[in-house]
């Protein structure tokens, strides 16, 4: 097993990094974050033109058939440059789930995602039980036209911009049962669908979503009825890799900024990088990041191989991010001192994004337990 970036991957890595370095400054990012939009339409179109959005999509819809490694490379760069654009929501989650659906749905959405015309959002969590994707009270009843959906969803990232929502709804089973959950592609703007939008701490936008008897056609069902949960789990494994890679990129930037700052910041007559306690702290940050990166590379490889232990690796990675992320984020602020607590510096914004990542699709303890379940049983 090859556990390092290949030459080809390094080329992609360098080109993504170069584009973002030249065209995605922290200042322009902040301007977008404050604009109330959540992301830049213009950047999104450019991402499409550069082929990033199509990278992992099937060839017949204009894609390049890339896999987890390509997702990882893109998201690591997005993390490094604190990219706001909803790649994970639209491409990894929405397009990922839609690929599990029938050809009609592919036709309808995938080329649009590849070209940057279609945005998506996952609407899977419900208030009060938001730590479990299995907890679904939203109901889907069969009706003459197809299905009628009723219920509510919380923490729908990218909700305000979404053209299509991937909604979990129960066609059978009890509230916490993995059985009986179905997935639907629900077009924004359908009657009965309403939202409350809000900004998030990491500069994005999300929504609460209400479905009041929203009628969708039979063809909106993604996968088999009642068999949505395994599909969701599979795609969320991809999203967990994407998020973790983003965290690795963010940690790289935080360590680089901290090393740079401590070398130029002088106190007690010398650069503070000369103080052993701070040197050791940065050495620890480095070690945490590299260990996380190793798991990230291994996880991407395993996912692409469809390896039996791929999901265990995903949870190992997310658990590791749940430790290295706060350690690196908190110490980056600590070593910057007061300036690290200001809106003006990027450090705190990386810190906030990492805090959100830590808590998306469950935090460290959940994944430690999932890891044990997947490896011991």
């Amino acid at each position: 097993m090859h556990i390092e970036y290949t030459d080809e991957q390094n080329m992609l890595r360098d080109s993504v990094d170069k584009y973002l370095r030249d065209n995605y400054s922290f200042e322009s990012r902040q301007a977008v974050a404050k604009s109330g939009e959540g992301f830049s339409e213009q950047q999104w179109r450019t991402f499409a033109e550069l082929g990033w959005l199509a990278m992992t999509l099937p060839e017949e819809h204009g894609g390049f058939e890339g896999g987890a490694l390509e997702t990882m490379i893109l998201c690591e760069a997005f993390g490094k440059h604190l990219v706001l654009e909803p790649y994970m929501e639209t491409v990894v989650l929405t397009a990922g789930l839609l690929q599990e659906a029938g050809p009609d749905i592919h036709e309808k959405y995938l080329a649009g995602v590849a070209e940057g015309r279609v945005q998506g959002a996952l609407a899977a969590l419900e208030a009060g039980r938001q730590s479990s994707l299995r907890h679904v009270e939203t109901r889907a009843e069969s009706c003459a036209e197809g299905f009628k959906l009723s219920g509510s969803k919380c923490t729908v990232f990218n909700g305000p911009a979404a053209d299509v929502f991937l909604v979990t709804a129960r066609t059978s089973g009890d509230a916490y049962s993995a059985e009986g959950i179905s997935l639907f592609a629900v077009d924004a703007g359908l009657p009965g669908l309403s939202r409350r939008d809000y900004p998030t701490y990491d500069g994005r936008h999300a929504s609460e979503l209400w479905l009041d008897g929203v009628t969708v056609p039979e063809g909106a069902l993604v996968g088999e009825p009642g068999r949505g949960y395994p599909v969701l789990e599979k795609i969320i494994d991809r999203a967990l890799l994407a998020l973790s890679a983003e965290a690795v990129g963010a940690m790289d930037s935080l360590l680089a900024a901290t090393v740079e700052y401590t070398k130029q910041r002088k106190q007690f007559g010398k650069p503070i990088s000369r103080f052993q306690v701070l040197r050791h702290r940065m050495a620890d940050m480095f070690m945490e990041i590299e260990l996380t990166r190793s798991l990230m590379l291994a996880t991407a490889y395993k996912l692409d191989q469809n390896a039996d232990d791929a999901s265990a690796l995903v949870s190992a990675l997310k658990a590791k991010v749940g430790k290295s992320g706060p350690f690196v984020g908190q110490n980056a602020i600590q070593l910057h001192g007061g300036i690290g607590m200001t809106e003006e510096l990027s450090v705190g914004h990386y810190f906030k994004r990492i805090a959100v990542i830590e808590n998306l699709f469950n935090s460290r303890d959940f994944h430690l337990q999932r890891y044990m379940r997947l490896t011991c049983e």
Binding site: H135, T155, Y176, Y198, Q330, Q334
Partner: protein, 395 residues
């Protein structure tokens, strides 16, 4: 007066005087500061009662309480969600003036601190002098009966609300850096002062940078001797580090976390508080908080016996802030994705709209973010550990 009797009296007063709006301001605190208007309203209420400066001697307007009574009062105020008063005048400058000020200074400034007429901010840190405070370079040069002050102060909390600032300034470059520092009282409306707000990570403005451009300050505003400001400063710093009682804060955090952990469910659908792994993590923090509580009691005992807690104040500052940060992390974990909504307006006491997510989660992310500052301000955790190594362990 017996402790319980005193506690009852304080409770009765708090029940009668704390309006729902004031309590709301206290509940919505996500840092050491509460909403400014609510803070000053509460300040005036306590002033009327004669309880605004519990640590001041009676002759200067204190209530004449012993140490236990002061602890009880602080505890009850926090438990009742009273907005925290600004410490710069009441707890920092006031006691310092009582110790080092001239009669004129005491007579003029102390009553104005008590009444809330003067709002003070603290001009210590500079862009180039943080942990190494003694390297500060804001200069004060004698010019007749005035000093001409030039330079800049940073992390000046609530400077935008203050009409006065107490500053450490450099009056001499001779000798070791500590030797040429003086302590000056400056009017914020003096010509040549500019205040730039600094927006924090939670989107609010608590900190400022203050610029001095040929600001004239009468020599009479010097506190203590010229070039003797460092000993005054150190007195204040020790106060800033050890003067806080973390136990009450930890108790409040514990109660808050328990509330959240009872209401929110883990991925298996049981309350977090019944999740064995999470319970263990809660217990781990709570046991450390309990150990600190008894440490604070030991320090209180030493204070009552007239001893100086000295470097033990560094211990409580490091442990108190780090324990507090761990509570924040556990709250974040319990709230999961409900930490994400950015609801800045909802943190204002007069907000009347609907919030996103449960009420007990509203302040969690802002507290997690803002409390990262607690291991930075008032001497970083690294500096405090240095102090313990040097002064206690004599390394």
């Amino acid at each position: 007066m017996e402790e319980q009797e005193f506690r009852d009296e304080v409770r009765r007063f708090l029940e009668d005087s704390l309006t729902p709006e004031l309590k709301r301001a206290g509940q919505l605190m996500t840092s050491v500061f509460a909403d400014f208007d609510a803070t000053m309203e509460w300040h005036r209420i306590l002033y009327e009662k004669g309880w605004v400066a519990p640590d001041w001697p009676k002759e200067y307007g204190g209530p004449g309480w012993n140490i236990t009574q002061r602890y009880v009062f602080q505890e009850e105020c926090k438990l009742a969600n009273a907005p925290a008063l600004l410490p710069m005048g009441l707890q920092m400058l006031g006691p310092m003036l009582i110790g080092y000020g001239t009669e004129e200074q005491k007579n003029y400034y102390l009553p104005r601190i008590l009444s809330g007429e003067d709002v003070w901010c603290q001009g210590y840190s500079e862009p180039g002098a943080g942990s190494d405070l003694a390297s500060l370079s804001t200069s004060a040069v004698r010019d007749g009966d005035d000093y001409l002050v030039n330079g800049s102060k940073i992390w000046t909390s609530y400077a935008q609300h203050s009409n006065r600032i107490f500053c450490l300034v450099r009056t001499s470059k001779e000798g070791p850096p500590q030797a040429g520092i003086s302590f000056l009282l400056i009017d914020m409306d003096s010509p040549g002062i500019r205040v730039d707000p600094i927006v924090g990570l939670d989107g609010s403005v608590e900190q400022c940078q203050v610029f001095f451009d040929n600001v004239r300050v009468p020599v009479a505003n010097l506190v203590g001797e010229e070039n003797q400001g460092w000993s005054v400063a150190k007195y204040l710093l020790e106060f800033e580090r050890g003067g806080q009682n973390f136990t009450v804060d930890h108790k409040k955090q514990t109660a808050k976390l328990h509330r959240q952990a009872r209401a929110e469910l883990n991925p298996d659908g049981i309350p977090w508080i019944d999740d064995p792994v999470f319970r263990n993590k809660m217990a781990s923090v709570e046991v450390d908080a309990l150990a600190l509580e008894y440490t604070e009691l030991r320090i209180k005992g030493a204070l009552e016996a007239g001893a100086n807690p000295g470097a033990l104040s560094s211990l409580t500052k490091v442990m108190g802030t780090e324990i507090s940060q761990r509570f924040n992390e556990l709250s974040v974990e319990v709230m999961g994705t409900f930490i994400t909504p950015f609801q800045h307006e909802a943190l204002q006491p007069d907000f009347e709209g609907e919030i996103v997510g449960p009420k007990h989660g509203l302040t969690v992310m802002a507290e997690y973010i803002n409390n990262r500052a607690s291991t930075i301000y008032g001497g970083t955790a690294e500096i405090q550990r240095d102090i313990i190594a040097k002064r206690v362990l004599e390394l």
